[in-house]
Amino acid sequence: MQHIHLNNVTPTFLEQEKIANSQIWNKEVVFNAGEKIQIVAPSGSGKTSLIHFLYGLRKDYSGTILYDKKSVSGFNADKFSTYRKKILSVVFQDLRLFAEQTVEENLSIKRILQPYHSTDKIDEMAEKLGIANKLNNTAKTCSYGEQQRIAIIRSLQQPFTFLILDEPFSHLDENNRKIAMQLIEEEALERNASIILADLKPIEYFNADRTLYL
């Protein structure tokens, strides 16, 4: 997949004023593979909704979203799963980990679906992000910052063309933010993939090609 095309997409629940001031809502927007896009979105502007729309989790919007030239409105759950396995990867704001499973299990359940990296590489990433010693702990016993790093590693284990990130560093310290950002950019570059990063304010160490205000 080379493009995600937003054709006048507007959440059905958002105030007109916010839509009018947005560079994305109710506009023609195209995200291209390999492009690094920063979406700056103040609280309540529909940032998480946009991420969910792009990933196919919600349909409460007007307008159309096209993966290349295919409208996602006709996709069923099986069709979305093929995209989520190979083309789209995501870090949710609410992380969505298996709370009762170990960190190791949380990572492997995603990796075995469509392996891209070896387990050694995953261990290396865990080491880099400082959670190597947490692999055997259950996810619920990890701090929110640790869980955020688990979610980031989980998203980097698969092949993807678009990596969608929703406030991925909100609970990380400055040092870990930079390490995580660098890792994400390296992984995207390796795949010639696009990064769509949505956050409350611009992230200075993200070398974005474009910044859009939601």
Binding site: L57, A77, D78, S81, T82, Y83, R84, K85, R96, F98, Q101, E105, I109, K110, I112, L113, Q114, P115, Q158
Partner: protein
């Protein structure tokens, strides 16, 4: 590494609610056992009954009459052509033919050899229905010799009263040498025929003459052409066919009870067997419902995890197939065990209860194999559809 149920098992609460799961397995086992044993027992009984029938050439021949009661005795209780045509059109009958009786008075005597004389009746029947038809059982107009086929039952009756009347007892062979004179009375006269008993029939309780003789005699001597029949002979593959018995009952036709007594047993057994099979199916259904509760509960308890698996890219189609496949070995073990138990029970039944009677095989019938295979396939399909429905609803 190929993805399997093992990979997703830790994310499902499949180990909880063990009791309802085991109860559903037990229920399935009991239901299938009931159904298979019931089917095998039905086959056993059919085999036992089949060998009790007096069948010839693979067919049963039975005669029917209209039931004569105090109410209808004043009426003509014979079969007309419409009745016969209706009987012939029944799908469970292979053929039907009327027995045509003489419409004139007949007297028989044995001439000078035996001091014996009696009023008699004659009948004719299509040759296809007669068990012993010698080539000389023919008659041509103008011929004074008339061949006769005599009922073996009548011969037996004659031999019972003959000694008390100072008459000689006769064997089937010697009866052929007794010349019988038939005196046929008609308006204003009598015509004599020389009759000869050329065969004895076990099947037909009558004194049979060739059909064309009867037609000629009725027309010439009694001036009757369209003779209603008192009796109709039926040719069927199974005189015990419950459909045939219900039809006869519904039409109030009378039949030799002895010939169909196994049919009545079969009717009763069929009701019992159908009831038991129904109960077996009900138990299987209840087991499946119980299992569906277990599945619903498991999926409800694992709902968050399953939704997250779908979010991560696991397809509901793959999840349904994988979760459903998990129970294929369970169903296979249950149904195979029940099949083995049915084989063992059939062997014991044939060996100990029937004392190795040859009519019943010690092995289970192939239909039991087919039914168990069908049940296995059905269980797997139903289970898959249940899982799929639940997962697509998430």
């Amino acid at each position: 590494m190929k993805l399997s149920f093992k990979n997703i098992e830790p994310f499902l609460n499949s180990k909880q609610n063990k009791i309802s799961r085991w109860f559903s397995y037990a229920g399935l086992g009991v239901g299938v056992l009931l159904l298979l044993c019931d089917l095998q027992m039905y086959i056993n009984i059919n085999q036992l009954i089949k060998n009790k029938n007096t069948r010839k050439d693979g067919y049963d021949f039975i005669s029917i009459t209209k039931n004569i009661t105090s109410k209808n005795m004043a009426k003509d209780n014979r079969f007309n052509m419409a009745d016969i045509k209706e009987i012939q059109s029944q799908p469970f009958l292979d053929d039907a033919a009327p027995l045509i009786a003489n419409q004139f008075r007949v007297k028989a005597s044995a001439g000078n050899i035996l001091p014996f004389s009696t009023d008699l009746f004659l009948e004719s029947l299509n040759e296809k229905f007669i068990d012993t038809v010698p080539p000389e059982f023919t008659w041509k107009e103008g011929q004074l010799d008339v061949p006769i086929i005599f009922s073996s039952d009548f011969l037996e009756m004659y031999n019972v009263f003959a000694p008390s009347q100072d008459l000689p007892q006769l064997s089937e062979k010697s009866i052929a040498s007794v010349p019988v004179i038939l005196e046929c009375y008609f308006n204003g006269g009598v015509q004599n025929f020389k009759a000869r008993i050329i065969a004895v029939s076990d099947r037909i309780n009558s004194i049979l003459v060739p059909e064309n003789f009867m037609l000629w005699a009725n027309k010439s001597l009694a001036n009757v052409t369209d003779v209603p029949a008192s009796r109709v002979y039926l040719k069927t593959k199974d005189a015990n066919n419950p459909e045939l018995l219900s039809y006869l009952e519904q039409k109030d036709y009378r039949i030799n009870k002895d010939k169909t007594k196994f049919g009545r047993i079969k009717q009763i057994l069929q009701s019992v067997v159908t009831g038991l099979a129904g109960f077996g199916v009900l138990v299987i259904l209840l087991a499946m419902i119980l299992f569906s509760f277990y599945l619903q509960l498991m999926i409800a308890r694992s709902k968050d995890n399953l939704q997250l698996l779908l979010t991560l890219g696991y397809s509901p189609g793959w999840l349904s197939r994988t979760v459903a496949k998990r129970w294929i070995p369970v169903y296979t073990i249950i149904i195979t065990s029940v099949l083995v138990l049915t084989v063992f029970l059939q062997y014991c039944f044939q060996h100990f209860v029937l004392n190795n009677r040859e009519e019943v095989s010690p092995l289970i019938d192939k239909s039991v194999w087919i039914v168990s295979a069908a049940l296995l396939v059905l269980s797997i399909i139903i289970n898959y559809r249940m899982v799929r429905r639940l997962l697509y609803k998430l």
